[in-house]
Symmetry: C2
Subunit: 322 residues, 2 copies
């Protein structure tokens, strides 16, 4: 690699993130020094994007930079924390300056929007791979967990799941003409919007929360299992975008909403006793979430459509059984 | 990858690190929750190891696991901090269970020895690449920096630099017979010992500190430049191991000590006024460090041998000029 590690970091990333007053020492030493405010706990997450696994070869570097941070912001949001400080470990086959500039722009714009300081990192030579570690802050004892749900809690999801999976399919097999709908879906994959403000607001209301990365059905299964419950889910209640329904048809749309990955929406449970107050404090219309089911005592995922039970597997096969 | 991410983490890493009481929530949720004690700051570091760049293809997985954590422990040590919590991002071409078990053993043994809890991570499919993020704790305002040195401060190095580079050369070109000396040098590359206790003890004594990863001469140049100084270094004062001198000869040994990488020793500066008290508190013999030079006002690295100036470049060429 022609440009040294130091030069790389200094040139493209030194000013990429937000400026924060709680960073006594940032990029450029052996480590960063961070000041955690009294009464807060630190939430730590990490996620890796690998070329060919998490994004297509030749993807827009601005999108890769955005997504590398967004997937971590989504994890911090699912914990109900405020994002604060990021470390970026970047492995590159070559120091392509225009690629780096676009990557840093995509990463930096999102970091500044969410007040995240880039406080350190490492650049190495090798196959393209990006690991971000993100630290957030949450009031002591208030972090959301997957495990706090109880049978009877109502289930909600933000946004319109399935769009990102449809967008990825469009990135893979570009249609001859790009419409407003295909552009919308591709953007939903390339530039996911982490639900950071919603996650913070859910502290005190939600009993359990998880972010959607591997598909709604699978991630709901994880939340329910961690909470020692099962879950019911009504297909007709899924919030589906007009673009997704138009592209996939009604049948394909809900299947993709349940099984498609890369949504980075929040799925959360709320005890019935808190419902009225939460609806008043966080109106569903303004905050963009919708009820899709409930936790139940019986283990497993119980999917209904128009009230009738359907047998659903992650592979997308279904058999009507009631 | 046949085994799911969740299974991988659960099976090999859940119990790999130390148990700590300051981890309200560890592996298994969207993020970890960490309790920073009052009066402390958090030190955050990250380093990546890539197959073929930082270790040879086919290297012992136990060594890779050890080194992935050790290089980060060394950065935390250079900041004078106590290591506390680690995140592990592991990209693997395949889920080879015996490889994973050995990697987790190498990583876990070092983590437990230094009281590091493994609190989260991510496993992905792709070319072999390991990124560790390590968080440490240091009393507020006490972290060591590269930039605190002043002209006149004396320079010290721990251990015997150059051994790891010689060990790597032996790993590349295995000699027909392995001797006690070749084994010693190979171990110094495969299982570096981060100077965590020394780093912590140096708070309050050292004016500046850096860990050796890219070679003593280059890393000294970084410390001196960050401190707005130059540095003098006497080749005859370099602490060289008997094994290194035996393998490389006296000439080759000091060259490798100056230019070889992967030492993970500490290089630090101490103001003359603190020397007597530091020597009493941290006897050099017991703590394994040695004086090799001093910071000076004139920029650049000024290398002497037996008092005579030698012209030294990182490429290992020298021309006697005095």
């Amino acid at each position: 690699m022609a440009i040294s590690e130091f030069d790389l970091i200094a040139r493209y990333f030194a000013a990429a993130g937000a400026q924060r007053t709680d960073v006594p020492l940032g990029i450029g030493d052996d480590g960063a020094v961070l000041a955690c405010p009294a009464g807060c706990e630190v939430v730590a997450v990490t996620d890796t994007l690998v070329e060919g696994t998490h994004f297509l070869s030749g993807s827009s570097p601005a999108s890769i930079g955005h997504r590398a941070l967004a997937v971590n912001l989504s994890d911090v949001a699912a914990m109900g924390a405020r994002p604060a400080w990021a470390l970026l470990a970047l492995t590159l086959p070559a120091a392509d300056e225009s690629w780096l500039a676009a990557f840093a722009q995509g990463f930096g714009a999102l970091a500044r929007r969410f007040g995240v300081a880039l406080v350190g990192g490492d650049t190495t030579s090798g196959p393209l791979c990006i690991t971000v570690q993100l630290l957030g802050l949450v009031e002591r004892g208030r972090a959301l967990r997957r495990s706090g749900g109880r049978a009877g809690d109502e289930l909600f999801v933000s946004g319109t799941p399935g769009d990102a999976a449809a967008g990825l399919a469009l990135e893979r097999h570009r249609p001859a003409t790009d419409t407003a709908e295909t552009r919308f879906l591709r953007e939903r994959f390339l530039y996911p919007e982490p639900r950071v403000a919603l996650g913070e607001q859910l502290c005190g209301w939600a009993s359990a929360c998880i972010d959607l990365s591997d598909g709604l059905a699978g991630d709901l299964g994880k939340l329910a299992a961690a909470s020692g419950c099962g879950a019911t889910l009504e297909v007709d209640d899924l919030p589906l975008s007009a673009a997704l329904r138009s592209m996939q048809g009604p049948e394909g749309a809900w299947r993709l909403a349940l099984t498609g990955g890369d949504d980075y929406e929040l799925l959360f449970a709320v005890p019935p006793a808190r419902m009225a107050a939460m609806s008043a404090a966080l109106p569903a219309g303004r905050w963009g979430y919708r009820r899709i089911g409930a936790l139940c005592a019986e283990p497993g995922l119980h999917v209904t459509r128009g009230g009738g039970v359907i047998e659903f597997s992650h592979r997308g096969y279904e058999h009507f059984s009631g």
